[in-house]
Symmetry: C2
Subunit: 143 residues, 2 copies
Amino acid sequence: MLSKKTKYAINALVYIAKHENEQPISVSRISLEQNIPLKFLESILSELKNARILKSTRGKYGGYSLNGTPKEIHMAKVTRLFDGAIALLPCVTYDYYERCEECVDEVTCGIRQIAMEIRNETVKRLKAATLADIIKREKKLSK
Amino acid sequence: MLSKKTKYAINALVYIAKHENEQPISVSRISLEQNIPLKFLESILSELKNARILKSTRGKYGGYSLNGTPKEIHMAKVTRLFDGAIALLPCVTYDYYERCEECVDEVTCGIRQIAMEIRNETVKRLKAATLADIIKREKKLSK
DNA sequence: TTTATATCCCACTAATTTGGTAGGAATAGT
DNA sequence: ACTATTCCTACCAAATTAGTGGGATATAAA
Protein backbone atom coordinates (compact mmCIF):
# COMPACT_ATOMS: atom_id res chain seq x y z
CA MET A 1 0.00 0.00 0.00
CA LEU A 2 1.10 3.53 -0.72
CA SER A 3 1.45 5.63 2.41
CA LYS A 4 -0.73 8.69 2.93
CA LYS A 5 2.37 10.78 2.49
CA THR A 6 2.91 9.43 -1.01
CA LYS A 7 -0.74 9.85 -1.95
CA TYR A 8 -0.79 13.40 -0.60
CA ALA A 9 2.40 14.12 -2.54
CA ILE A 10 0.95 12.83 -5.80
CA ASN A 11 -2.30 14.72 -5.30
CA ALA A 12 -0.38 17.90 -4.60
CA LEU A 13 1.87 17.41 -7.62
CA VAL A 14 -1.07 16.76 -9.91
CA TYR A 15 -2.74 19.89 -8.57
CA ILE A 16 0.34 21.98 -9.20
CA ALA A 17 0.73 20.51 -12.68
CA LYS A 18 -2.89 21.30 -13.51
CA HIS A 19 -2.31 24.96 -12.62
CA GLU A 20 0.99 25.38 -14.35
CA ASN A 21 0.12 28.82 -15.64
CA GLU A 22 -0.64 30.19 -12.16
CA GLN A 23 2.56 29.07 -10.49
CA PRO A 24 3.94 29.31 -7.87
CA ILE A 25 1.18 27.86 -5.72
CA SER A 26 1.16 28.17 -1.94
CA VAL A 27 0.95 25.32 0.53
CA SER A 28 -2.18 26.77 2.10
CA ARG A 29 -4.02 26.80 -1.21
CA ILE A 30 -3.18 23.17 -1.96
CA SER A 31 -4.05 22.23 1.62
CA LEU A 32 -7.51 23.75 1.24
CA GLU A 33 -8.25 22.45 -2.25
CA GLN A 34 -6.91 18.95 -1.75
CA ASN A 35 -7.88 18.51 1.90
CA ILE A 36 -4.40 17.82 3.20
CA PRO A 37 -3.37 18.89 6.74
CA LEU A 38 -1.41 22.12 6.33
CA LYS A 39 1.70 21.41 8.37
CA PHE A 40 1.97 17.88 7.08
CA LEU A 41 1.74 19.09 3.51
CA GLU A 42 4.36 21.68 4.28
CA SER A 43 6.84 18.97 5.22
CA ILE A 44 5.90 16.90 2.18
CA LEU A 45 6.44 19.72 -0.29
CA SER A 46 9.69 20.57 1.45
CA GLU A 47 10.90 17.00 0.86
CA LEU A 48 9.82 17.17 -2.77
CA LYS A 49 11.83 20.35 -3.10
CA ASN A 50 14.92 18.77 -1.52
CA ALA A 51 14.53 15.92 -4.00
CA ARG A 52 14.45 18.53 -6.80
CA ILE A 53 11.00 17.50 -7.95
CA LEU A 54 9.61 20.88 -6.96
CA LYS A 55 11.22 24.30 -6.64
CA SER A 56 10.14 27.03 -4.26
CA THR A 57 9.83 30.80 -4.13
CA ARG A 58 9.83 32.36 -0.67
CA GLY A 59 8.02 35.44 0.59
CA LYS A 60 4.74 36.99 -0.39
CA TYR A 61 3.14 35.53 -3.53
CA GLY A 62 5.62 32.71 -3.22
CA GLY A 63 4.92 29.01 -3.27
CA TYR A 64 5.91 25.86 -5.14
CA SER A 65 6.22 25.07 -8.82
CA LEU A 66 7.29 22.00 -10.78
CA ASN A 67 10.98 21.54 -11.35
CA GLY A 68 10.57 19.90 -14.74
CA THR A 69 7.70 19.16 -17.09
CA PRO A 70 4.66 17.04 -16.15
CA LYS A 71 6.02 14.39 -18.52
CA GLU A 72 9.23 14.06 -16.57
CA ILE A 73 7.81 13.64 -13.08
CA HIS A 74 6.46 10.15 -12.39
CA MET A 75 5.07 8.01 -9.57
CA ALA A 76 8.12 5.76 -9.25
CA LYS A 77 10.27 8.62 -8.06
CA VAL A 78 7.68 9.99 -5.65
CA THR A 79 6.92 6.55 -4.24
CA ARG A 80 10.60 5.76 -3.71
CA LEU A 81 11.13 9.11 -2.00
CA PHE A 82 8.43 8.60 0.62
CA ASP A 83 7.89 4.85 0.87
CA GLY A 84 11.37 3.63 -0.04
CA ALA A 85 11.92 0.55 -2.19
CA ILE A 86 9.16 -0.61 -4.50
CA ALA A 87 10.10 -4.30 -4.56
CA LEU A 88 8.63 -7.02 -2.35
CA LEU A 89 12.08 -8.08 -1.14
CA PRO A 90 15.04 -5.92 -0.11
CA CYS A 91 17.38 -8.15 -2.13
CA VAL A 92 15.88 -7.21 -5.50
CA THR A 93 16.00 -3.42 -5.30
CA TYR A 94 18.44 -1.11 -7.07
CA ASP A 95 18.30 1.79 -4.70
CA TYR A 96 17.90 0.15 -1.35
CA TYR A 97 19.64 -3.21 -1.69
CA GLU A 98 19.97 -5.29 1.42
CA ARG A 99 20.19 -9.01 2.08
CA CYS A 100 17.05 -10.74 3.35
CA GLU A 101 17.85 -11.70 6.93
CA GLU A 102 15.56 -14.69 6.69
CA CYS A 103 17.27 -15.95 3.58
CA VAL A 104 19.42 -19.06 3.90
CA ASP A 105 20.89 -18.80 0.39
CA GLU A 106 20.14 -15.81 -1.80
CA VAL A 107 21.37 -17.45 -4.98
CA THR A 108 19.01 -20.41 -4.79
CA CYS A 109 16.08 -18.47 -3.33
CA GLY A 110 12.92 -19.48 -5.16
CA ILE A 111 10.93 -16.34 -4.53
CA ARG A 112 13.66 -13.89 -5.50
CA GLN A 113 13.05 -14.26 -9.24
CA ILE A 114 9.35 -13.82 -8.73
CA ALA A 115 9.90 -10.68 -6.69
CA MET A 116 12.23 -9.39 -9.39
CA GLU A 117 9.71 -9.95 -12.15
CA ILE A 118 7.02 -8.19 -10.16
CA ARG A 119 9.30 -5.29 -9.38
CA ASN A 120 10.23 -4.87 -13.05
CA GLU A 121 6.59 -4.78 -14.10
CA THR A 122 5.61 -2.44 -11.30
CA VAL A 123 8.46 0.02 -11.80
CA LYS A 124 7.78 0.09 -15.54
CA ARG A 125 4.19 1.07 -14.94
CA LEU A 126 4.98 3.58 -12.20
CA LYS A 127 7.52 5.26 -14.47
CA ALA A 128 4.91 5.49 -17.20
CA ALA A 129 2.57 7.14 -14.69
CA THR A 130 3.80 10.68 -15.19
CA LEU A 131 1.82 13.71 -14.03
CA ALA A 132 0.91 14.30 -17.67
CA ASP A 133 -0.37 10.75 -17.98
CA ILE A 134 -2.38 10.97 -14.76
CA ILE A 135 -4.02 14.22 -15.86
CA LYS A 136 -4.82 12.71 -19.27
CA ARG A 137 -6.49 9.75 -17.61
CA GLU A 138 -8.52 12.03 -15.35
CA LYS A 139 -9.78 14.03 -18.30
CA LYS A 140 -10.82 10.86 -20.08
CA LEU A 141 -12.64 9.59 -16.99
CA SER A 142 -14.59 12.80 -16.38
CA LYS A 143 -16.08 12.79 -19.89
CA MET B 1 7.73 -5.00 1.03
CA LEU B 2 6.66 -8.35 2.35
CA SER B 3 6.64 -8.51 6.15
CA LYS B 4 8.89 -10.90 8.00
CA LYS B 5 5.80 -12.82 8.98
CA THR B 6 4.94 -13.48 5.34
CA LYS B 7 8.51 -14.44 4.46
CA TYR B 8 8.74 -16.77 7.45
CA ALA B 9 5.42 -18.29 6.44
CA ILE B 10 6.55 -18.93 2.88
CA ASN B 11 9.85 -20.39 4.02
CA ALA B 12 8.06 -22.67 6.44
CA LEU B 13 5.54 -23.76 3.80
CA VAL B 14 8.27 -24.49 1.28
CA TYR B 15 10.10 -26.51 3.92
CA ILE B 16 7.01 -28.53 4.72
CA ALA B 17 6.31 -29.08 1.05
CA LYS B 18 9.85 -30.31 0.46
CA HIS B 19 9.42 -32.93 3.16
CA GLU B 20 5.97 -34.11 2.19
CA ASN B 21 6.80 -37.75 2.84
CA GLU B 22 7.88 -37.11 6.46
CA GLN B 23 4.79 -35.17 7.54
CA PRO B 24 3.64 -33.97 9.99
CA ILE B 25 6.58 -31.70 10.82
CA SER B 26 6.94 -30.01 14.21
CA VAL B 27 7.31 -26.29 14.78
CA SER B 28 10.59 -26.80 16.60
CA ARG B 29 12.14 -28.60 13.65
CA ILE B 30 11.18 -25.87 11.20
CA SER B 31 12.33 -23.24 13.67
CA LEU B 32 15.77 -24.85 13.85
CA GLU B 33 16.19 -25.58 10.15
CA GLN B 34 14.84 -22.29 8.86
CA ASN B 35 16.13 -20.05 11.65
CA ILE B 36 12.76 -18.68 12.68
CA PRO B 37 12.06 -17.71 16.33
CA LEU B 38 10.11 -20.61 17.85
CA LYS B 39 7.20 -18.84 19.48
CA PHE B 40 6.75 -16.48 16.56
CA LEU B 41 6.69 -19.39 14.14
CA GLU B 42 4.17 -21.13 16.36
CA SER B 43 1.74 -18.25 15.94
CA ILE B 44 2.39 -18.09 12.20
CA LEU B 45 1.68 -21.78 11.63
CA SER B 46 -1.39 -21.50 13.79
CA GLU B 47 -2.71 -18.73 11.54
CA LEU B 48 -1.94 -20.79 8.46
CA LYS B 49 -3.92 -23.60 10.01
CA ASN B 50 -6.89 -21.35 10.77
CA ALA B 51 -6.76 -20.21 7.14
CA ARG B 52 -6.88 -23.89 6.12
CA ILE B 53 -3.56 -23.72 4.33
CA LEU B 54 -2.04 -26.14 6.82
CA LYS B 55 -3.56 -28.84 9.00
CA SER B 56 -2.25 -29.94 12.35
CA THR B 57 -1.86 -33.09 14.42
CA ARG B 58 -1.58 -32.60 18.17
CA GLY B 59 0.35 -34.61 20.71
CA LYS B 60 3.60 -36.52 20.46
CA TYR B 61 4.92 -36.96 16.90
CA GLY B 62 2.41 -34.33 15.87
CA GLY B 63 3.07 -31.25 13.80
CA TYR B 64 1.88 -29.55 10.66
CA SER B 65 1.24 -30.78 7.15
CA LEU B 66 -0.05 -29.16 3.97
CA ASN B 67 -3.78 -28.95 3.56
CA GLY B 68 -3.68 -29.37 -0.22
CA THR B 69 -1.03 -30.04 -2.84
CA PRO B 70 2.03 -27.82 -3.40
CA LYS B 71 0.42 -26.79 -6.67
CA GLU B 72 -2.62 -25.37 -4.91
CA ILE B 73 -0.88 -23.22 -2.29
CA HIS B 74 0.43 -19.93 -3.64
CA MET B 75 2.02 -16.69 -2.48
CA ALA B 76 -1.03 -14.51 -3.12
CA LYS B 77 -3.01 -16.27 -0.44
CA VAL B 78 -0.20 -16.23 2.10
CA THR B 79 0.62 -12.59 1.44
CA ARG B 80 -3.00 -11.54 1.79
CA LEU B 81 -3.31 -13.48 5.02
CA PHE B 82 -0.42 -11.77 6.76
CA ASP B 83 0.06 -8.44 4.98
CA GLY B 84 -3.50 -7.78 3.87
CA ALA B 85 -4.31 -6.30 0.49
CA ILE B 86 -1.77 -6.59 -2.32
CA ALA B 87 -2.81 -3.45 -4.21
CA LEU B 88 -1.22 -0.01 -3.86
CA LEU B 89 -4.58 1.61 -3.08
CA PRO B 90 -7.38 0.36 -0.82
CA CYS B 91 -9.95 1.26 -3.49
CA VAL B 92 -8.72 -1.34 -6.00
CA THR B 93 -8.70 -4.46 -3.85
CA TYR B 94 -11.20 -7.32 -3.94
CA ASP B 95 -10.82 -8.54 -0.42
CA TYR B 96 -10.18 -5.42 1.55
CA TYR B 97 -12.03 -2.67 -0.36
CA GLU B 98 -12.12 0.73 1.27
CA ARG B 99 -12.40 4.23 -0.10
CA CYS B 100 -9.21 6.29 -0.20
CA GLU B 101 -9.73 8.98 2.42
CA GLU B 102 -7.56 11.36 0.44
CA CYS B 103 -9.57 10.86 -2.71
CA VAL B 104 -11.78 13.72 -3.85
CA ASP B 105 -13.53 11.70 -6.57
CA GLU B 106 -12.89 8.00 -6.95
CA VAL B 107 -14.43 7.76 -10.40
CA THR B 108 -12.16 10.31 -12.01
CA CYS B 109 -9.05 9.39 -10.01
CA GLY B 110 -6.08 9.21 -12.37
CA ILE B 111 -3.96 6.83 -10.36
CA ARG B 112 -6.68 4.31 -9.67
CA GLN B 113 -6.42 2.65 -13.08
CA ILE B 114 -2.67 2.47 -12.75
CA ALA B 115 -2.96 0.87 -9.34
CA MET B 116 -5.49 -1.58 -10.75
CA GLU B 117 -3.23 -2.61 -13.62
CA ILE B 118 -0.33 -3.12 -11.24
CA ARG B 119 -2.47 -5.14 -8.89
CA ASN B 120 -3.71 -7.39 -11.69
CA GLU B 121 -0.17 -8.10 -12.86
CA THR B 122 1.12 -8.66 -9.34
CA VAL B 123 -1.70 -10.94 -8.25
CA LYS B 124 -1.36 -12.98 -11.45
CA ARG B 125 2.30 -13.59 -10.72
CA LEU B 126 1.80 -14.28 -7.03
CA LYS B 127 -0.89 -16.83 -7.85
CA ALA B 128 1.47 -18.51 -10.28
CA ALA B 129 4.04 -18.68 -7.49
CA THR B 130 2.85 -21.93 -5.95
CA LEU B 131 4.97 -23.95 -3.57
CA ALA B 132 5.59 -26.38 -6.41
CA ASP B 133 6.75 -23.54 -8.64
CA ILE B 134 9.05 -22.12 -5.96
CA ILE B 135 10.65 -25.50 -5.34
CA LYS B 136 11.12 -26.03 -9.08
CA ARG B 137 12.86 -22.68 -9.35
CA GLU B 138 15.13 -23.49 -6.42
CA LYS B 139 16.16 -26.79 -7.97
CA LYS B 140 16.98 -25.06 -11.23
CA LEU B 141 19.03 -22.41 -9.45
CA SER B 142 21.09 -24.87 -7.40
CA LYS B 143 22.27 -26.75 -10.50
C1' DT C 1 10.13 50.85 6.80
C1' DT C 2 6.38 48.32 8.09
C1' DT C 3 3.20 44.70 7.19
C1' DA C 4 1.32 40.64 5.24
C1' DT C 5 2.24 36.36 3.36
C1' DA C 6 5.19 32.96 2.24
C1' DT C 7 8.76 29.08 2.90
C1' DC C 8 12.15 26.91 6.11
C1' DC C 9 13.59 24.38 10.06
C1' DC C 10 13.68 21.81 14.32
C1' DA C 11 11.66 19.45 17.86
C1' DC C 12 7.96 16.88 19.66
C1' DT C 13 3.94 13.51 19.96
C1' DA C 14 0.11 10.10 19.40
C1' DA C 15 -1.53 6.08 17.17
C1' DT C 16 -0.69 2.01 14.69
C1' DT C 17 1.88 -1.82 13.06
C1' DT C 18 5.49 -5.15 13.40
C1' DG C 19 8.08 -8.50 15.48
C1' DG C 20 8.31 -10.69 18.85
C1' DT C 21 7.93 -13.26 24.21
C1' DA C 22 5.80 -15.80 28.37
C1' DG C 23 3.20 -19.18 30.52
C1' DG C 24 0.32 -22.65 30.82
C1' DA C 25 -3.73 -25.74 29.20
C1' DA C 26 -5.10 -29.54 26.20
C1' DT C 27 -3.92 -33.61 23.53
C1' DA C 28 -1.89 -37.84 21.97
C1' DG C 29 1.62 -41.63 21.37
C1' DT C 30 4.61 -44.86 24.04
C1' DA D 1 2.67 -41.54 33.95
C1' DC D 2 5.79 -39.27 30.80
C1' DT D 3 6.97 -36.64 27.04
C1' DA D 4 6.47 -34.04 22.99
C1' DT D 5 3.51 -31.67 20.67
C1' DT D 6 -0.22 -27.97 19.34
C1' DC D 7 -3.36 -24.40 21.23
C1' DC D 8 -4.66 -20.14 23.50
C1' DT D 9 -4.38 -15.77 25.79
C1' DA D 10 -2.03 -12.08 27.19
C1' DC D 11 1.62 -9.09 27.05
C1' DC D 12 5.59 -6.09 25.34
C1' DA D 13 9.30 -3.31 22.86
C1' DA D 14 10.77 -1.12 18.78
C1' DA D 15 9.79 0.98 14.57
C1' DT D 16 6.93 3.42 11.50
C1' DT D 17 3.34 6.52 10.22
C1' DA D 18 0.81 10.54 10.50
C1' DG D 19 0.79 14.19 12.15
C1' DT D 20 1.46 19.18 15.38
C1' DG D 21 3.70 23.50 17.33
C1' DG D 22 6.50 27.39 17.34
C1' DG D 23 9.34 30.43 15.59
C1' DA D 24 13.08 32.13 12.24
C1' DT D 25 13.76 33.87 7.64
C1' DA D 26 12.65 35.86 3.13
C1' DT D 27 10.10 38.80 -0.12
C1' DA D 28 6.61 41.81 -2.37
C1' DA D 29 3.76 45.59 -1.80
C1' DA D 30 1.82 49.56 0.72
